[in-house]
């Protein structure tokens, strides 16, 4: 799928996040970008002071962003906090926004930057200071579905961030390899490798879980 660019310059800039070059070709256009096109229009409306457009934009993107953060951090409160931060950053940069690339690439680039900042913050914060209310409710034993989720949750938490993020963007948003590469500032080959490795790990965890479940 070709993406029509408003001008010849194949990039857009976001303050504090550097230059993000746009995609001209998508290698796996499994999802139409109608959402993105509409979001670009909404961004322009927000820039002119339209509060309704802001509400529409939040309602359109809150669930995808929340799910991305929720699976990345495995913490509802932090996922919600980061989702909110994405919108605050978007709103702060709305006057400088130029719709030159896919909106999903733009918004998930911001999301990924915030995610990396969160990991840095967590590495500085001792574990014992974590609010117990922030931690998800424990997996209920005896329910095989929850146990399966628990196994996958552990697997996802154990794999490197780049592998997890690449897999999440691929599965949740059905983004193309080139789009994921843009978001993660990496090559397409690296993205393919990360996704392959992450999936392999998940398969391994699943088969181990099934084996242990079968034995018991």
């Amino acid at each position: 799928m070709s993406i029509l660019l408003p001008d010849s310059s194949p990039s857009f800039s976001f303050p504090g996040f550097g230059i993000i070059s746009s995609m001209v070709e998508s290698d796996n256009p499994s999802k139409p970008d109608a959402d993105g096109d509409e979001s670009q229009t909404l961004m322009l409306r927000i820039a002119s002071g339209d509060d309704v457009a802001l509400t529409l934009l939040i309602n359109r993107w809150k669930n995808p962003l929340f799910r991305f953060f929720d699976r990345s951090l495995n913490n509802h409160a932090d996922a919600e906090d980061l989702t909110q931060k994405v919108f605050v950053k978007l709103h702060a940069a709305v006057s400088r926004y130029k719709p030159k690339a896919k909106f999903s690439t733009y918004i998930f680039t911001i999301a990924r930057r915030l995610l990396l900042d969160e990991f840095k913050r967590r590495s500085r914060r001792p574990e014992d200071l974590t609010d117990p209310l922030d931690i998800k409710s424990p997996i209920v034993h005896g329910n095989s579905r929850n146990e399966l989720e628990g196994a996958l949750e552990q697997c996802l938490a154990g794999i490197p961030e780049n592998q997890r993020t690449a897999l999440l963007l691929r599965v949740q948003r059905e983004l193309s390899y080139s789009e994921i590469a843009e978001i993660m500032s990496a090559s397409q080959a690296a993205v393919k490798t990360w996704i392959y490795r992450a999936r392999e790990e998940a398969r391994k965890s699943l088969s181990e879980f099934r084996k242990s479940n079968h034995e018991t």
Binding site: Q84, F87, H91, L152, Q172, A202, L206
Partner: protein, 113 residues
């Protein structure tokens, strides 16, 4: 293979996390947060230049005041210190009569006559 037995299907279903969503009232919360942030940023947009202008004005006024006021006395030089020291030394001799030699006494006597 049934979808529930296909490992990739199970993994994808878990990753999609389709039942998860932010808490109710999230949108309103974000809107109020963006409003607050934009108010603060608008405030900081003019308060910093204003503070800089005020600081500059204060320094400028201070300089003007200094220029218009009396010139400061020149700093004492080394000779003046020496003269002050001599005066200080002379003070205790004010009460005492000076010791005069004979020639001077004769001269005073001639003059007085």
């Amino acid at each position: 293979m049934k979808p529930e037995n296909n490992p990739d299907e199970l993994i994808d279903r878990y990753l999609r996390d389709e039942s998860a969503s932010p808490s109710p009232g999230f949108t309103e919360q974000v809107i109020s947060c963006t409003r607050r942030t934009s108010t603060i940023s608008r405030f900081t947009k003019w308060i910093l230049p204003l503070a800089a202008c005020l600081a500059f004005a204060a320094v400028f006024m201070d300089l003007l005041k200094k220029d218009s006021s009396q010139p400061e006395p020149p700093a004492p030089v080394a000779d003046q210190f020496a003269f002050d020291d001599i005066l200080l030394l002379a003070e205790p001799l004010d009460e005492t009569s000076p010791l005069l030699d004979e020639e001077t006494l004769e001269l005073f006597a001639l003059l007085s006559e």
